[in-house]
Symmetry: D2
Amino acid sequence: MKKYRVAVLGATGTVGQRFVQLLQGHPWFEISALTTSERSAGKRYGDAVRWHIGEQVPEAVAGLTLEPTRADLDADLCFSALPVHAAEEWEAALAATGHHVFSNVKNHRMDADVPLIIAEVNPEHAQAVKVQRAGRGWSGSLVTNGNCSTIHFALAAAPLHRAFGIRRAVVTTMQALSGAGYPGVASLDAVDNVVPFIGGEEEKMEAETMKFLGGWDGARFVPAEFPFSAHCNRVSVRDGHTETVSLELGGAPSAGAVIECLRAFRGRPQELALPSAPARPIIVRDEPDRPQPILDRDAERGMASVVGRVRPDAVLGMKFVVLGHNTIRGAAGASILNAELFAAEGLV
Amino acid sequence: MKKYRVAVLGATGTVGQRFVQLLQGHPWFEISALTTSERSAGKRYGDAVRWHIGEQVPEAVAGLTLEPTRADLDADLCFSALPVHAAEEWEAALAATGHHVFSNVKNHRMDADVPLIIAEVNPEHAQAVKVQRAGRGWSGSLVTNGNCSTIHFALAAAPLHRAFGIRRAVVTTMQALSGAGYPGVASLDAVDNVVPFIGGEEEKMEAETMKFLGGWDGARFVPAEFPFSAHCNRVSVRDGHTETVSLELGGAPSAGAVIECLRAFRGRPQELALPSAPARPIIVRDEPDRPQPILDRDAERGMASVVGRVRPDAVLGMKFVVLGHNTIRGAAGASILNAELFAAEGLV
Amino acid sequence: MKKYRVAVLGATGTVGQRFVQLLQGHPWFEISALTTSERSAGKRYGDAVRWHIGEQVPEAVAGLTLEPTRADLDADLCFSALPVHAAEEWEAALAATGHHVFSNVKNHRMDADVPLIIAEVNPEHAQAVKVQRAGRGWSGSLVTNGNCSTIHFALAAAPLHRAFGIRRAVVTTMQALSGAGYPGVASLDAVDNVVPFIGGEEEKMEAETMKFLGGWDGARFVPAEFPFSAHCNRVSVRDGHTETVSLELGGAPSAGAVIECLRAFRGRPQELALPSAPARPIIVRDEPDRPQPILDRDAERGMASVVGRVRPDAVLGMKFVVLGHNTIRGAAGASILNAELFAAEGLV
Amino acid sequence: MKKYRVAVLGATGTVGQRFVQLLQGHPWFEISALTTSERSAGKRYGDAVRWHIGEQVPEAVAGLTLEPTRADLDADLCFSALPVHAAEEWEAALAATGHHVFSNVKNHRMDADVPLIIAEVNPEHAQAVKVQRAGRGWSGSLVTNGNCSTIHFALAAAPLHRAFGIRRAVVTTMQALSGAGYPGVASLDAVDNVVPFIGGEEEKMEAETMKFLGGWDGARFVPAEFPFSAHCNRVSVRDGHTETVSLELGGAPSAGAVIECLRAFRGRPQELALPSAPARPIIVRDEPDRPQPILDRDAERGMASVVGRVRPDAVLGMKFVVLGHNTIRGAAGASILNAELFAAEGLV
């Protein structure tokens, strides 16, 4: 099988590094280009990147020359970890010139013809790229994945919404430092502290969740509709967002029924046995004090959402904790899984 | 004015140390006894205590000899930071022999004739000690303050409950390490981690809140009644519990009205100008990213609850963040303020 | 007594904030100007500063209008916490126009006519400002204090050098995050990590120590001369540098003699009873596990160096640990004490 | 090839867990017994252990029944992570009954007939077990590995001692929390703090280093002899000890020569291609700010010592930083490598 040639856009940042790391040895994708700002273009990747997710830049890519992002990149697929302004400039331009862009960036997530996909949750949204291509006259396409906090909530919420219907939900996040990139959060804001605010995060969670849990009617996205409230906090954890969830479910199922529903959940990535698909997209733990970031963030190579403490809630009926790796399943890994889904479904 | 002679029971632990620290230079109270387990009794306090809340044991108490807790302690008032088993053995016994015991320990908080008091919130519960003395045949009394997380929630909730009526509330706590005492939380559970569970804490928050926000009808406590759900988490912060709160209020007041209500709140301690009373029991901050433990836990010498981010909530109507020092206003400082209230009201 | 009018240059940074904080209520100095970069000039200090060393900007200064640094500032004394480039532009210019500049910045520390002073260690270096004024034609003066790590080492080393002569010393620092300012060290470099490198720090420690421990012969500084090696590391501590020291002393004194020498040490600030002088510039603790940042950094309001674990060293003869607050005695507090010394000695 | 049957003694502790983890899928060794205190004996390992080094107990061992340690264990080799008292009781007893005990515990490290081995450094000490068996009348043997801080220093020092001769060395450690086991260091001692003391650690480093770097003359160990001074500190790092080293070398080699010597170093484990042997026992990094725990502790699966910042030292001639994983190469991994060495050399 011929591999797809893939570019990582914004390859030197935190999420860019995760893309590069996760693409090592990928059976379907091979890196053909790494892009960066004009300032670093022309340098060896290994020299330009301040690698901070392990011992060192993988040898296979250390010698690649960084290119400026441009519309005629030599790549079939593009994984975008661009900053907002660069994403505005290049993502659509690349899609227009035939690239299939899988983006982590927030810019186009809520666009009416841009799929916002968690591969297990709403794979049918992928069909929207046909409307997108027709409407925009693109030969390529643009697909997004969500905010890191939203993905883990929505992944855990999806089977419950499908089985019971979510009527209302209140979520409090305790988010990891890596979610803000590098240098990101100042150490003086992190050590011995909590910051009870992350700019724009609550709004993103509330909007994106409705799109994830909604449908695609062949012409447009039909968002889910239920009151949703998020409190977003930054805590002193390197990787792994922890979220407490209280929600009201139709039919008021028991905790046992909720656990069974979560554990049984499988989606298209599992059916298709996609290379990056976790065997269990949602893991439910029985211990009273799990999930914890240090223990659970790497479950299923960082591709699972880990749920625990499923129990009745005096206000909304049901509550639990969900945790997941924010730069793997919450970012780069989610994009790669989306691209695998599109490849397997013949959409790229 | 003659000072009250006070004993600190369990003086070597985290909360015991806070009692000792806060009682230095107190205008009404002077330490007459420091108690500990049999094992350490007879030692100088300065030698036996592993002082961990500052440079060193205050000189005035370093030379005191630790005594075993016993019923005939030479003290008018007793501040109890005893472990659960010792509290079971000694608190009632001391009250029976004429001591006025102000306890931090959970044992008797929910007893039908034991006041559970936040001095600004439910000072009228103090009258219950008359029933208590009559019913138990005690010459002393036993008064409790609440769990550290509950106190800060209930202090912020009290004026809202009074003004609007709380109909439902969902709270997520991010609690400090010192709340578990010393050695308490293992560092391997704290560094780069969140533990989404604290044994018994959610139950305590739910039960105690109803007693705090309820009334005393002259014969018995009449608890508040509204659905309440708590998610309790331990985060990597030394001191200061941060809590996100979503609640439904009668009349659906605006955020502005809520802020005004919180800021205007004063209670008996402020009216009586008690020595440990904060000038402002509730501080509301306007910045988008406050309160934060490192910045706000010492507000009003650790005796205030600091609220921020008051804003509409899509599910329950209103939400905010509240933060407070867990071993000062959440423990030792709360007991001392209660004792001051009782002294000023002629109840001891 | 008329107060000196003082300006804080670079008032919004970490050290600038400390200057502002420490000058509150100062008996001799009153703030007449706060300066900042052109970008923030004209704003209220309370609005422009991201205050991160406590609950909020002191009320007395929150309403002051930030000015750009300029040569005709309305101030007798200037405390400089400027960035390197701004210091280059303004410190000499201000001294030329009659201001007495007390600088925290590294630029002029090693200049041949600029005193580098720890008030207890080498107050006689102050006389160099006469040569400075004559040589440069300045009506004001420029005085520096050292790097934060150097100050605490040199303060502890000074009485030993005087009593015994230091022949060689090896030092390893474990430095606090606040030493890099704000935002400074990225949280991803701090949490669960040590960075064994701080740019330029080892060179500064080695050079400045020799100047501190050297003399002034009336015309020039005569540096101390002994081999000195520093290893500088950043650890996950907010405030307080901890340093391990191995050194060879003339006469090979016992640990007891070293302790006695350190404890007996007093300098001009103590003789003159300067307002910011610690009663004990060096505190020696007897516990096996002290000093520790969390317990000892605030000793003597952050103005002392705290020594512990004085014991024989198999290689160099003697070893110990020294710890001190890096932004108080290691920076702003040191400058203020220097200014007090100059005022008391009639040099400003 | 038939696998050796191995027991892990003290299998529920921090080092015991590492043994269990590292033995999964081992090509030569298979776990036949897991021992624990009487209290937990009889339980399933998966139920009794508080697993804290990853998501969960490996499935292959979760179902094993914990046994009390006893002299007739069904095992060829025993990996001991026993507490000191249990080690005293059982290690010699097991060796007497024919077991080959590879111990992490300090008890017997300095015994005159017990090898203390780093497989690359002093494999020839293995011959001492013949004297041991003869002298003690044992059919088995007892072999130790060193303290976690010592191992990484000694591994980096060994090629330098061999090539140039170490004449003196001063070391400061910044040790990880996991080195104290679980619960080990209290979080209130770890967060925002350094503890400049670890009981007995400096003495262990000084004594063990001499044995590691010394010889075996066929009848007895001949220790290296040079003055050595250690300062041991606990910092807020989960895993990975960082050490600053200043040393005097014979012939005063250049930094380049030192780097070359370290990089070229290979030992018996590499010659024999032992299963747990790192390809490069010592990695030297060129970046100015490496090694760092978060980036380098897992180099070579935690089996390497990572050196950086090799440069001249003004006092002793040469200095550098060395870092290594304390519970892998510094403990369980070292024992396993020692056992592989003994197996390959026909000594078990």
